[in-house]
């Protein structure tokens, strides 16, 4: 029995998905389905928090590890899901016939993401990855306007499959080199493996699938299109929970090979250049975007670059910073997408221009966007500032002065397009002065997330301590 309690958050998600499956078969109303989805999310969140002090293996030894790292990541993922569920009260941009399926698919994807955080065996890892991916492939294509979402969702799925094939290819190398699919076996043979270039190539290939989820260069091509044309609620999920899961696996792999970091020059270099390319490309491309979600898509590419700063450091400090930033980033982008969802009820695409007059139409939404954007820029008092500070600190610790300089200059470049968004919301006047009415649930979520973004920025001690503890569990 005690073993199964370790699997409680995932069980809650699976049961929730099952209930939702029957609910839609029996033709429940969307409100009921939505409430069930929201409740499952909250239950999963509570279950994840409840399992914080636990550690162990619910299944066969060596396959699936529950420790503070995995449970912490699951908590953040569940929190991301709760936010998405809460703002999906009326998912207007989702095709009318597909509303009932939406919560179920997202719950299933969340199950996969949670399993990713615990998977300690290559096949389990791969299966979790696909479980996390397929429901999202489907939901991304559910936009009410088929003309818009057709191309980009196909693109997303194809590129996702290519990336996962590359990962699979890398996994086969790892298996060939070690004769085992267990990460523990790889870690025990690390001394001999680390001297073989093939091993490092395999690790890089394995990373591909997760770099794709993170929208890191060179797997970022989907981001702009998919962000632009996926239903607002779905892309919120992709921009929050999905990113956290990807960062968790990257941390897991980096922690696995970090004892041999001395031999890992190839991989650190590759990751460093990927990071530089991602942030430069993301920021430069975002400068010219007129579509708000597309802009946020490129901004996500740039942020993938920032997170890689922590990963490539391959140190405890770096991974802690990456995990901390993952948490903060999920909250910041949730704020921005929350505004997109509210603003974009009647619009298939949300342009930057449509923000005009937001400060009159809804001062609260404007303030929410302001905090979210300030966070993405990296300005105090939000978590964006201190998150970047920690990431940069990890790189400076490795002596990468120029790298940090490049990253910091990138943040200054990014300022331009972020400020234009704020300018529209706060300064531009518009003929449309209809107030935007926001329901109580959304307001509560906006308030709580804003509070989180500022609390993490001003009193980061507790959150940082959690990240440290998680990384200790990960590396120990």
């Amino acid at each position: 029995m005690s073993n199964l309690t370790l699997f409680l958050p995932e069980t809650v998600c699976l049961l929730g998905a099952l209930v939702l499956f029957f609910a839609q078969v029996f033709g429940a109303r969307y409100t009921v389905v939505w409430l069930l989805g929201l409740l499952s999310g909250v239950a999963a969140l509570v279950a994840a928090v409840w399992t914080w002090p636990l550690a162990g293996e619910p299944f066969f030894p060596g396959i699936y590890r529950v420790d503070f790292f995995s449970q912490f990541v699951k908590t953040v993922i569940a929190a991301g899901f709760v936010i998405v569920a809460a703002i999906s009260g009326r998912p207007h941009t989702v095709r009318a016939g597909a509303w009932l399926e939406l919560p179920m698919f997202l719950l299933l994807a969340m199950t996969g993401m949670m399993m990713l955080a615990s998977a300690m065996e290559l096949v389990t890892l791969y299966i979790s990855m696909e479980l996390a991916a397929y429901p999202v492939y489907i939901t991304v294509a559910l936009h009410r306007n088929r003309d818009i979402s057709g191309e980009s969702s196909t693109k997303y799925m194809l590129q996702g499959m290519i990336a996962s094939a590359i990962t699979l290819y890398g996994l086969s190398f790892l298996f060939g080199l070690t004769g085992s699919t267990y990460l523990s076996a790889i870690s025990s043979q690390l001394g001999t493996l680390a001297t073989q270039p093939l091993f490092w190539l395999a690790v890089l290939l394995v990373l591909a699938g997760f770099l794709f989820k993170l929208a890191a260069f060179p797997f970022h091509f989907w981001a702009s299109d998919t962000y632009q044309t996926a239903p607002h609620e779905v892309i919120t999920f992709v921009a929050t929970a999905s990113k956290v899961a990807a960062i968790a696996v990257l941390c897991r792999i980096a922690a696995l090979v970090s004892p041999a970091a001395g031999d890992a020059e190839l991989i650190t270099h590759v990751l460093m250049w990927m990071s530089v390319a991602a942030m430069t490309l993301g920021n430069l491309a975002a400068l010219r975007q007129g579509d708000l979600k597309r802009l946020l898509g490129y901004s996500a590419v740039a942020h993938a670059g920032y997170v890689l700063i922590g990963i490539q450091a391959m140190s405890a400090m770096g991974l802690t910073a990456a995990l901390f930033y993952a948490m903060g980033y999920a909250a910041m982008s949730a704020l921005c997408f929350l505004v997109v969802v509210e603003l974009g009820r009647d619009e298939d695409l949300v342009t930057v221009d449509s923000l005009a007059g937001l400060h009159q139409r809804s001062p609260l939404l404007a303030a929410t966007l302001l905090i979210g954007i300030f966070g993405l820029i990296g300005l105090p008092p939000t978590v964006g500032f201190i998150g970047k500070w920690f990431l940069f600190s990890a790189a400076i610790e490795q002596g990468q002065f120029v790298f940090v300089l490049v990253a910091a200059i990138n943040s200054a470049v990014a300022l331009y397009y972020y400020l234009l968004v704020i300018r529209q919301a706060y300064f531009a006047e518009s003929d449309n002065s209809n107030p935007i009415h926001t329901d109580v649930v959304t307001l509560a979520v906006a308030g709580a997330t804003t509070g989180l973004v500022i609390a993490m920025g001003v009193v980061p001690g507790w959150f940082w301590a959690l990240s440290v503890e998680a990384v200790v569990a990960l590396m120990g």
Binding site: L379, I396, F401, A412, P460, G461
Partner: protein, 493 residues
Amino acid sequence: MGDTSLLTTILLCPVVGLVLVLLTPARAVQAVRWISALSALAAGVLSVHLWRAYDTVAGGFQFVEIVPWVEQVGISYHLAVDGFSTILVMLNSIVFFTGVLTMWDLETRVKEFFAFMLLLVIGVYGVFLSQDLFFFFLFYELAVVPMYPLILIWGSGNREYAAMKLMLFLLAGSALLFPALLSIYHASGLGTFNMILLAQKAFDPDFQIFVYPFVFLGFGVLAGLFPFHGWSPTGHVAAPSAVSMLHAGVLMKLGAYGVLAVGIRLLPIGAVYWAPTFATLAAIGVVYGAFVAIRQTDFKFVIGFSSVSHMGIVVLGLNLAVLGKAGQDALNGAVFQMFAHGIMTALLFSTVGFIYDRAHSKTIADFGGLGSLMPRAVSVFIVAGLCGAGVPGLASFWAELLVFLAALKTYPIMGVAIIVSLVLTAIYILRVFSLAFFGPVNTKWEGLRELDLKGWQLLPRAILLAVLLFFGFFPRVLLDVIDGTTTGVLAAF
């Protein structure tokens, strides 16, 4: 309230003000104004108390408060003041209070305006009070953030351009600071951001020489250092009065203070190595700013470029200080100038803003004989302008005198060039006077006769004027506070 938490209490005044303003409904504009004014007044009273309680004989850092914040990485909430920050806190309080009064008539989006302004003030206090490198930088960035909406929404003229340019320049400066400050932390090996401890660490000379320019230029951008001053005049011109006051009066001092507190204190060898180069840049800025100011057609541009010139004197003083020949004078002069220029430029912008709000013109040639139409406003402006020109009896005289003497002793040729700039300053100031204030009355402005400063509108200007005169006649009151700290800082050289 004991003195043990005096600094936190000062910092909390605008924080409490901000929270209350946010909780006040947007319609209750009068309440918003009063909350802002009262929080400014409270901070001002506490600043006076701080000035009096600061023990000038003991010197050094006083009123220390340390609370561990993120222990694993050595960040602590660490406040303390030395002589320099004591007077700069005072400066901020004065400009904050008079700024709120100056904006009393504001009618558009009042709540948002005062909220952003309070946020800016929190950042400024934080920088002057923090002795933890992380918090120092956090507050530094926090002070810059609200400038964008403040200029964009309540500014005038080319405000979108000015607001964006300002943010891009200042955050590009921050981009240099990120790696530099983190390198200082990691290179120290102490695992702490405590600036007092870091200052005691002797960093490797090569490291200092490598990192110092990043620190200097990063902060120097905000101090309006030539040739990175481009954001400053355009920003001043487009900003609303109180924001120009805070911006030129206090915000630019943050840059100079950063150079002093982080650059010179923590990296003395680097500072000495680069001082000749950066002193030259600063001297060019002094002369260049004055030259450019002569040709301006817009009131605010004249003041904007005069700020570049006057802040050049501060930065020049800082660089001369480390070169040893007349260090004490140079550093005393530089810090005195931060204070004097802050008050003076606040007064100038406050008055120009007043005239602009009534006449809706800032073009100098547009006016004529304004002195007989608005005698009070113009008199105030003239006194502040003369202060800029270094007329004895006003605070700037002493500050400029000290720096010029140090310049003559250290680099005689540069010293002469700097003194020539004083003549240029007199030219551009007197040009404004003669074109706009004297001569035949331009009948177009007859209506202004009714709109001169009166009643409570005189209050903020009177306060600033009184401060300028007081320190013009009693400079020792200020020098006594900073002299001990100057000696302490220069002991490292």
